[in-house]
Structures are given as C-alpha cells and as structure tokens.
Symmetry: none
Subunit: 399 residues, 2 copies
C-alpha cells in the first residue's frame, strides 16, 4: 500500500488532524445494553459524525487484539503484519529512547541469584528506580566488540538494553527461565543472522554478572523480548506531509518518532495538547493528537470513568474544529471495553470529515451506528490513503 | 483471478451487456445533501435496480483515484495493480493506434529550441494539427537498427512514438526538462533490459533534430511517458466470449482493443451506440457499451449537466432491455463527482441483473442505496466472474 501511495502524492496546502482516542471502542454494559459511546452525552461528536463518512477499522485481523504498537502503526498507514514492532523496541519507545534502524533492543530485569547462581527473586525485590539508575550506569561501562552498548533505566527493577551496530539480528531466545531455583538461560540465536548477536549478548550477561557481584539483591540480569528495530518508511516522506505528534504519554511520542514525525513538546493533559495544536497550527500539515483517558478508564474496568473521559473529549472537540482543518479523523488505536478491563479485538469506530467525505447522516458516533457507515469495516492501514484522498493530496493512478 | 476463471469457462448461448457510465459515481451537493444519482429522475434505472443485485465497486484500492486505464481494466476483470498501462500507451490508445505486446510507446511534443539547442517553447507555439501531421511523416522516415519506428500525429504539437521489435524495455527517463532555457535531456535506462532501447531512442532524437532543423517553431522533439505495452491475457480467450466494444470515444475503443475485444464502428452519440448494439446483437455474446456524457459533465463541475446526462441515459435504457439480454450490468469506470470536478476515489454503484442475480429491492440506484446491496463493496475485477456466473458460463470449482 505504501509503495502504491508514495508515487501518487502531490503537494498541497490542506491540513489534516488525526484524533486518536486510545482504547476508543467499547462494549455494551449488560444492564443497559448500551456501550460507553452510546451512554455518553457527546453532542459535538454526534454532530460531526452526521456530517462525516463513518465506519469501523480493524487494526490487525479479525479476533486479534492489537497492542499499542500495531494499533498506532495501522493508524499511521503501515500494515502491522508487515511492519512488526516487538516488546523490546516498545519498552525502549516507552522511555523515548532514540532507537535507530538496525538497533536490537531487549527488556531487562535486575534479579537476585544465590551463591550457586540460581534465581531467588526475578525482580530483585523491586529495587528503587534510583538504585536502578545507578546500576544501569555500571552496566553502561560494558564494551563489546564492534557494537555500541546502551543501557537505560526504566522503573524499579526494569531497564532497556540496546545493541547498536551493523549486521545485528533480533531473533534471540530469552534468558529468563520464568521460574525460581534455576540459573538464567544462555541466549540462543533463532536464526542464522542472529548468531553473532547471541554471542555478544551472552558476553554482556557474563560481564554484567561480574559487575553486579556485590550489588545484591540486584546481582544479576534477565533479558527478554529481543527485537530488531524494523527499518520503517518515514511517514513524512511516504505521505509528503509535514507531520507532528502531540501526545502527553511517552509511548505514543515514541511510536510517532519511530515513523519520523516531529514530536512536539506539550503538557500532561488533553487541554495542553489542544493548546499545542493551536500554537503549532501553521507549522505542519498533519497532526496526530493522542487522548489517553479513554484507555486508562477502560483498562481499569471503570465504565462510568470511560463515559466521563469521552464527554471530556467531546467538550474540547470544538477547539479542534475551530482551526477549520480540511480533514478531521476521529478514531482509536484499539478497543478497550470497560467490561473487558483490557484491550479488545473489536473493530473501532472511525469518522472522516472533509469537503469531499460525504455525510452518512448517522445520529450517533458508536460501534453500532458506524457499522452502517459508508466506509464499511476496513483495515486501519487503509485509512491514511482515504485521508490523503480527502485532503486532495493524491493524484490519480494511471492516466 | 483470471487463472482461476479461465479453466472454469463453459460455452453458452447467453448474452451479456456491460453498460459503463463514465465517471458514474458522485457526491452530495452540500445544499441538498443529494448526489447526482439521487437528484436525477431515473425511473427505468430505479426499476431495474429493484430487480437486481446491487453494490459498490472499487477499481484500484481505498483512497486511490483510477485513471481511465485502470478503471476499465478493472471492469474487464483485470486487477489494475497487476496489469499496468502507462501514459505513453494510453496516448497511443487515444488515437486507436494498433499497439502490440512488446511495443514501447511514448508521448511526444514538438518544441522550439534556439541556436544553442536550448528550449524556448515546450509546445512549439501549439502548431496546427496539419503541420503536426506533415512533420510526423518526416520523422517516420527515421530508421533504427533492429526495430520498426512508428510516429503518429495526435493533435496540435502532440504525437506518439512507438518502437516495435524484440527485446525492448520500457523503463526510460524523460527527455523533457519541464523548464525553458535548458536543452532536452538524454534518455537514460532505468533498468538493465531498457539499456538498448535508451540508446535507440537517443539515436531517434538525434535524427529528429537533424530532420527538423528547418521546421521552426517545431524544430525539436520532447519525449516522455515511455511505456512497454504489457502482454495482457485476451478477454475473449479468458472468458470464452465473442466480445464487442461500442464506444464513441477513441480512448475507450483503444482500451477494449487492448484486451482483444472487437471494436465496432458506431456514431458519435449514445443513441448511435444503442443502434449499433441492435444491429450487432446476433453476432456477439458480450457487449461493452460506453457512455461518456456523465464523466464530461462531472469533469466540468456541472452538477445539473451530470444529472441531465444520467436522465438521457435512463431514457435509452429500455432500448437495451428490449433486447432481453441474459445479464445486464450498469456501472462505471470511476467516480467523477461534480463537486470535485475531477475523477474521484469513491467506490462506484453497480447493478447486476439476470434470472439468477437475486433482487435487492432497492428503491433507487445510488451511492447510498448500493451500500446496502447484496454485492457489498468489492474490487471491480471481481465483477466479471460474478457476471459470468450469472450468465451460467462458469462450471463449479472442484468436483
């Protein structure tokens, strides 16, 4: 799809806002038969939906619950089955680590081993973040032949290990045996290109053991979720857009950075994000604006809090519309139904509004109403081509 | 898809009419909320839609606006992403040039160069077509080793260059620098199989310069849109149909010819085309009938003219039905919404009527109504298999 789009992109003056409500989609509360979107009072969203093309998007495949990585890649136009971003990379993005194509990242834990090297605590008694910072500095002194070694603290016992250099492979087994009373496992390469990397990681683990021998309870490390950062096509290049991300949470800033968007400084609330949107309006063609509260309430299983989060979003929507963007998209990166209290596999409502979008005339913006919309149920990565077309930024295919 | 279909084709006596309304799909006029199809009085089409299976077809991919080439290839059953027809080939088809598989075609302009060979007018002052004809005759005397050189006038300063011979490549850079005060660029091969072709084209340009030295303002040529004619499977062979095209405009005759249909002589109006359909009714199993007026009005941004064009079509539809075809299809090669005044990316309404099509009972034939039809929203190249099935011309797959 990206190969099809890129040669068709034409310059333009139009502006696009993609509003991503994290965990937007929901499910009906059994007592009322109405979902979060159907329960909330959303006058602005309903009015906008009536004047938009609506539908449902599916981020990965039927029945598959997307993590934040695949969910956002889909929204950004990348087929998440083609461009995979794994756990180690996501851990690094979550601390806004500046990953580069070809980097191998892993999630690290400090752990406790006894005199025989057997694990007695897989989380090293959840040491303080302060201790974690000090010990990762120690690990950062490790030198390996031909690669750069980067060790960054995350929180408590968690850290990120990144190896940077040419010719690394990311298909590696984990060192965590997931059980006590056993030694950490050596890393094995799961494919030929990862063999040298496996040897380097085992050398890192041996050095770490030596450097941490006096640091009990954090006297050893466990590594898992190894991942090679895929070389992703750059979003601004593919779509010919000056693209900015406005997100209060580091994970989403990281995902936007991964595809080459400019990540704008902003505050900690959605109101701050909207203020940033207004300030930066002249400087970009495309804004990805992330709203976290819906997901948080959904994950907590708090139906009423999710309804309230939707209503807070709705109250601020006119401030986005006041900028008169040429195309507005409202959707999410996955469902987080409050009754599930977790990410869900359900397709997520979407609306696309613009001069040429057509108006489906739906009276609410909800899972049920959007099923009858003109966009149908489509893969999330089909959204960006549609948005580009609506912004008159694609020329025709074939003469 | 073609590989799946061809072995399943069985002989039959059934007759199929594919009515293609160029640029059929539209968008609602903001003042009324109704599209061209929803505004026009279309009693015959509405009556037929009620007794048909309806849906929407997408010619290329979501958000992608089809040119006439990909739009028609889709209708003819070819996936336009697999079978690509480029600009040079389309220019040749537009004058009904008899292109053959392996030919390389380019769009040519006569231009003006000064004493130092720098371009002073990229269109040679738009010389008359008469002068163009005379000068292309001159260029037609050029001989190149191992290939046939064919030069055909188009209109004013435009001509078509075709090289015919074995082993040619079509991946060539353009000679037009798209700016004044510069010399024409030499052609470069963009892949290895095109290297010999690049050398031949550069030799052609050198000869052309010599032959045109006294022909100012048309004293040089610019070439662009080089293309190798893809070897397309022949429509009559794949589908086992005696297939005829009835189209008043040369481009659409050319596209039908490209897939091996017989192109019938006809007049300049849709009424003439219908008369031709009646005359030739006994001689073919499949008729592609092209209606241009809808697209022309849409391109002009004239909503009312497009409504009128639809009503004129509707008035003649009973003359097609009077022939009692076994399967009638009404659709288009792309949308041309009048409010967009250009080809659009929107999916296009389609109806398939026959004894076994089922009847969706829709009360209008429109973008909105067809969304709810039994065919769903499908790729255009899925249409021909459906039509063949409805004509009882496909046996089952697997015993």
């Amino acid at each position: 799809m990206l190969d099809l789009i890129a040669p068709l992109v034409v310059p333009g003056e139009t502006k696009i806002v993609l509003l991503s409500l994290d965990g937007l989609g929901g499910l009906a509360r059994p007592e009322t038969g109405r979902s979060e979107l159907e329960t909330a009072r959303l006058p602005n969203l309903s009015r906008l939906a009536a004047r938009s093309a609506c539908g449902l998007i599916r981020h990965v495949a039927p029945g598959i619950t997307p993590g934040s990585g695949p969910g956002h890649l889909g929204l950004f136009g990348y087929d998440p089955l083609q461009y995979q971003v794994g756990r180690g990379v996501l851990e690094a993005l979550g601390i806004e680590f500046d990953l580069r194509g070809g980097d191998v990242a892993a999630r690290g834990n400090f752990c406790t081993v006894d005199g025989e090297g057997l694990i007695t605590d897989r989380r090293a008694g959840r040491i303080s973040t302060e201790v974690c910072v000090r010990l990762t500095e120690r690990l950062g002194t490790i030198r390996l032949p031909g690669v750069e070694v980067l060790v960054e603290p995350v929180k408590e016992h968690r850290f990120v290990l990144v190896l940077r250099g040419a010719g690394l492979g990311g298909r590696l087994s984990e060192t965590d045996p997931q059980a006590l009373g056993q030694p950490p496992l050596p890393v094995r390469a799961l494919d030929a290109p990862s063999e040298r990397t496996a040897a380097l990681v085992n050398q890192f683990v041996a050095e770490a053991k030596r450097l941490l021998h006096d640091a009990a309870p954090a006297n050893m490390v466990l590594l898992r979720g190894f991942d090679l950062l895929p070389k992703l096509p750059r979003f601004p290049t593919v779509f010919g857009l000056r693209a900015a991300a406005i997100a209060a949470y580091p994970m989403y800033r990281g995902l936007a950075k991964l595809v080459g968007m400019d990540v704008l400084s902003t505050g900690t609330t959605f109101k701050d994000e909207i203020a940033t949107l207004h300030e930066q309006w002249p400087n970009y063609d495309f804004f990805f604006v992330h709203y976290k509260d819906t997901d948080k309430a959904g994950e907590d299983g708090d139906f009423d809090a999710k309804v309230a989060a939707l209503e807070r979003f709705d109250a601020l929507l006119p401030e986005v519309e006041a900028l008169r963007p040429d195309v507005v998209v409202v959707t999410g990166d996955h469902a987080t139904p409050a009754i599930l209290a977790a990410h869900g596999w359900q397709p997520v409502p979407v609306l696309v509004h613009g001069r040429y979008s057509g108006a489906d005339g739906l009276d609410t913006f909800s899972e049920r109403a959007c099923r009858t919309g003109s966009l149908g149920t489509i893969p999330a990565f089909h959204l960006m081509p549609l948005v580009m077309a609506n912004a008159l930024r694609l020329t025709k295919y074939g003469a």
